[in-house]
């Protein structure tokens, strides 16, 4: 009997070495049943090696993987009750849409009528026209191919469904639509999803929990909300997108000095154990021009460039003694009133900055 308190999927000290290179380094994870869990990391962070071990295509050099308490380390991929949607989708080009979806059922010798019924049900759920049963997969569009790959994996009825960046090759609009669709399917099926991506933005949209990987290690695990509001370090903070990053040291009880300069900024963080670190200020919390006038943290610069980002406008401010331009974002319909080339005040509230360690 499996105890209810036991985690669904449990990784203990999972390590993968290729010669002298450590691709995955002592990863410990617990994933609960029905969760949408995402592993995020830049390329080379070890996330693909991770998923290959989870699916059973590679064996870990060290550590233990348990699914519902059962050790899975030496179980080959075709014996595991899990399934993956590949980055390339890996649809079988010589088979029709229907034949692709029913593949796992044909393998186990399920009879034709039952197979067809399940395929029809999945095609309906994934909004694929039933007439596509006979259609060659090579004639389907990118979005349709995604759905076919997902249907094929769901037909296997896996205990965990893995995803290896299947949306990365799609254009922006289709990707956004499919992210939401995937989230809906997760809710409808109640299955455990483990997703891999290099895009934290994508992870934020879909996941219940996110683990951020860097150089084979897990840097931070948390809900999207936790990660967004309390990034553990500079890496996580910068991984989320464009941010203003300042190297700082403690100046007073609630003030920080920019390392090597005289600028002093106020924060609301508890600085009792703090010596040096980084102050992260998101472009969207920055004020510019008149609205920056009564801000506690203020600095002057030249607004030398602006970019339309769709719903927002981004201004780049050159501050005399900093190398990097400062980024400020405003909503499209309330732009900054000045001209390009003007000297302008920018500022932020002490509670809007994030203080992180190295």
């Amino acid at each position: 009997m499996v105890e209810l308190s036991e985690p669904f999927l449990e990784l203990n000290g999972i390590t993968k070495r290729f010669g002298n290179f450590v691709a995955v380094d002592d990863v410990n994870l617990e994933i609960t049943e029905g969760e949408f869990f995402t592993l995020v990391g830049p390329s080379g962070s070890g996330k693909t090696t991770m998923i290959r071990m989870l699916v059973g295509m590679d064996a870990p050099s060290d550590g233990e993987m348990r699914l519902q308490g059962r050790v899975m380390n030496d179980l080959p991929a075709n014996k595991r009750p899990t399934c993956m949607v590949f980055q390339s989708l890996a649809l079988f080009p010589h088979k029709s849409v229907g034949e692709n979806i029913e593949f796992s059922m044909k393998i186990t010798g399920k009879d034709k009528v039952k197979r067809r019924a399940r395929v029809d049900q999945l095609m309906e759920q994934l909004r694929l026209p039933l007439s596509y049963y006979e259609k060659s997969v090579t004639q389907c569009s990118g979005g349709e191919r995604q759905r076919i790959a997902l249907a094929r994996a769901l037909a296997f009825d896996p205990q965990i469904l893995f995803f290896d960046e299947p949306l990365s090759a799609l254009d922006f609009r289709l990707r956004k639509a499919l992210e939401k669709e995937l989230k809906d399917i997760h809710r409808e099926t109640g299955k455990t999803f483990v997703y891999i991506t290099h895009s934290l933005e994508e992870a934020m949209v879909m996941s219940d929990r996110i683990a951020i990987m860097r150089e084979g290690r897990i840097v931070q695990i948390g809900t999207p909300h936790e990660i967004y509001n309390n990034p553990k370090n500079k890496f996580v903070a910068q991984f989320m997108g464009e941010v203003n990053t300042l190297s700082v040291e403690k100046a007073g009880e609630n003030t920080l000095r920019v390392t090597g300069f005289d600028d002093i900024f106020t924060v609301t963080d508890d600085l009792s154990d703090f010596t040096t670190g980084f102050l992260i200020i998101r472009p969207e919390v920055m004020k510019i021009g008149r609205s920056a006038a009564d801000m506690k943290n203020k600095i002057k610069g030249i607004a030398f460039n602006d970019y339309a980002l769709g719903s927002r406008v981004q201004y780049q401010i050159r501050i005399e003694h900093f190398d990097e331009p400062w980024l400020v974002e405003r909503l499209q319909d309330e732009p900054y009133e000045g001209q390009r080339g003007d000297t302008v005040d920018i500022g932020w509230r002490p509670e809007d900055s994030i203080l992180v360690s190295n």
Partner: protein
């Protein structure tokens, strides 16, 4: 009217590629299509004539059908089929190794298999004669080592089959290597992930996807064996007569060019029909996923 057709002609000639293709086309016309047409024309001439100026007749064809030539056709087809099946069984594992497993050793294996092609086929077959001969290399070794006499290997159908498999192995192997290396590894991983066993992956994924290579190798060796002569003569002696042997006798010994031509036309038509049917049955484009 004459003027426009002339200008059409010159503008057609000025198209890119036409002029460049002309020498090769002429060469093919004279060297390939011409002799074939001559053979077809001779097949309709009266028996034992050496001119094309007689009234055409179908007597050669009717005499072939009423005669016992079907036995030679049968042997040729049977040997071709047997050879293709044996070659597939022998070559698939080697090709798989060369495409997926041997890595840098694949080049060495390729060289080892390709180098014998540089030696004349007849000389290689005579090498086999020396091995299979009574008191030859094999028989002699068995006698001196174990005191067993194994004679009667030469001049049998298995000896011919051995020769055919040996000579045509590269023509099956190399297309198969290309066919197998065209199967993406991720598709096999995906099949395995969906629960397929090693054998199911082979049947459902690898075999159908390497079909283009298999088809090309199969057709190549099938047609080559149909037209083969030396293996049956050198290793088979009088064991069987294959159709190419009959064609040769008609042209040389019997001095009956029209009969030889008619047999050639029938052989060409037979192989043509078989290849056509095979290509119709296996849709290569669909297999490769182009449609």
């Amino acid at each position: 009217m004459a003027k426009t057709s002339q200008s059409n002609m010159s503008s057609w000639l000025k198209q890119p590629g036409v002029l460049a293709a002309l020498p090769a086309s002429l060469f093919l016309l004279i060297g390939f299509a011409g002799p074939l047409l001559l053979v077809v024309a001779y097949s309709f001439m009266p028996s034992k004539t050496f001119t094309l100026l007689q009234a055409p007749t179908i007597e050669n064809y009717s005499s072939i059908i009423s005669d016992s030539y079907y036995i030679s056709f049968f042997w040729s087809l049977a040997m071709a089929l047997t050879t293709v099946v044996l070659l597939f069984i022998i070559c698939y594992p080697i090709a798989y190794g060369m495409a997926k497993l041997f890595n840098k050793w694949a080049n060495l294996v390729t060289a080892l298999i390709a180098v014998p092609i540089l030696i004349s086929e007849n000389i290689r077959l005579f090498g086999w004669v020396l091995i299979l001969l009574k008191n030859g290399v094999f028989d002699g070794s068995m006698q001196s080592l174990f005191g067993l006499s194994i004679s009667g290997l030469l001049f049998t159908v298995p000896a011919i089959t051995l020769g055919l498999v040996y000579v045509y192995l590269p023509f099956m192997l190399f297309p198969l290597v290309i066919g197998i290396s065209m199967v993406p590894e991720t598709l096999k991983e995906a099949a395995s992930d969906l629960g397929a066993t090693r054998w199911q992956i082979f049947r459902e994924i690898e075999l159908p996807l390497s079909m283009p290579g298999l088809m090309i190798g199969g057709i190549l060796t099938f047609v080559l064996v149909l037209g083969s002569l030396a293996e049956a003569k050198i290793l088979g002696g009088q064991a069987i007569v294959m159709i190419a042997d009959d064609i040769e006798s008609a042209f040389t010994f019997a001095q009956n060019w029209p009969k030889g031509s008619a047999l050639s036309v029938l052989l060409i038509a037979l192989s043509g029909i078989i290849v056509f049917l095979l290509f119709r049955r296996v849709d290569l484009d669909r297999v490769i996923g182009r449609r």
